[in-house]
Subunit: 243 residues, 2 copies
């Protein structure tokens, strides 16, 4: 096996609930890949790209990843979520997806939509999450246009997810909604306190953030066909990793 | 207009978030009809059938309901949820659904699945929620079999939702999953304290109930392709009505 068949894996965990987005609540395993082409100011998985998690990165083959998933999850799961970092950086993740499909496992992907991979077409639940202004990133509309057009044309099961921290982000979400009116759009209230260690204190804060976003969306005449969701895992377990 | 063209309406409210089930988070208006063929021990809308809300029932035509929806929601919504009670008791709700579709509004239905109506086929997001043992009800499997078969055959967008309070309910959910392995299944942690008036106290309790259900489902090898969700509206607003 050459290095080309190995993937930088940051963590593998589960089964747990998917806490956000289009498959919220789904019993799933997570495979978190290392590396990202972005560096969002509020990233809740910055250890995947800022160097702090470097020592945890393992170079695994698709077969090794599958074997670890089954060692952890046994016969209790039927769904795996690929998250990052940005898993789309990895050219050959189709190898992993094929092995999982062979075992009857569905596969979800979370990616910002900054680049296209043909293996997106094999994904069962695809979330594109263009980053709003508060992230400090500049999403490339032209690339996102192409991705959305391709996924729509090929009738794939995908959605857009925008994390919202403030009014500027909310205006950005409105722009996404206007630009892709037929795409499922999920708005997610952001976690602005990644350092808080007391889950009860964090919960109170997150609840208020979510309620604010709900209220703003309810009052809006432009944000109509949208879903507004929190991050259930943060409500349950705070800022803890690997749950 | 004869009495046949009027519907017993308990409340109309929104826009708000759908707090549970297959369209969780969706911005929606609610139309709650009065009357139910069940009397679940823990029903969170018992006022629709136990007599306590009798004075609030209004007999409205479909056009009057639509006009009230637009008076409340203006141009800010594109989705209406029909809930109860059991809206399936009403033979001619297709009149309301057609008027809403004419305005470009999608329509969701929440019903226990105790009886079939041809207008189910016009529903965009259909939730069947057979009641577990803790409700005190006995769901009729034969009827549910027919409903699921028909909705599947006609390729409708529907899901099953089971509220879970205890281990017996969990076993019942497992039975539902085995019986309808290809149906989307949502498990929802029950609210066992409908009298609590302090949202903060209730929230703590609901969180623990949800975490218990998550844990039990994660440990299960039979409950695989499921979603586990709370009731977001109860987390946000407690036992308050009309939100």
């Amino acid at each position: 096996m050459t290095a080309a068949g190995r993937f930088p894996v940051m963590e593998i965990f589960g089964p747990t609930v998917q806490g956000e987005g289009m498959v919220i609540g789904r019993k799933t395993m997570f495979v978190r890949t290392a590396g990202c082409d972005y560096a969002c100011s509020w990233c809740d998985s910055a250890f995947t790209w800022d160097g702090t998690g470097k020592r945890d990165i393992r170079m695994l083959t698709a077969a090794e990843i599958v074997s670890e998933l089954f060692r952890l999850g046994g016969e209790s799961f039927s769904h795996v979520t690929l998250s990052g970092g940005n898993p789309a950086l990895l050219a050959r993740l189709d190898e992993l997806i094929a092995l999982l499909h062979d075992r009857g496992i569905e596969v979800a992907l979370e990616t910002q939509g900054s680049l296209w991979r043909d293996w997106f077409l094999a994904i069962d639940d695809l979330t594109l999450s263009p980053k709003p202004p508060s992230s400090g990133m500049n999403a490339d509309w032209a690339v996102l246009d192409q991705l959305v057009a391709k996924l729509t044309e090929l009738n794939r099961n995908y959605s857009l997810k925008v994390v919202v921290f403030d009014e500027t982000d909310l205006a950005y979400a409105g722009e996404v909604h206007r630009r892709y009116p037929h795409a499922s759009l999920y708005l997610q209230s952001g976690n602005d306190d990644l350092a808080e260690r007391d889950p009860a204190v964090l919960l109170n804060r997150l609840l208020r953030r979510y309620e604010w976003l709900v209220q703003r969306v309810m009052d809006s005449t432009s944000l109509k066909s949208v879903r507004v969701l929190p991050q259930l895992h943060a409500w349950l377990w705070g800022n803890k990793r690997g749950v």
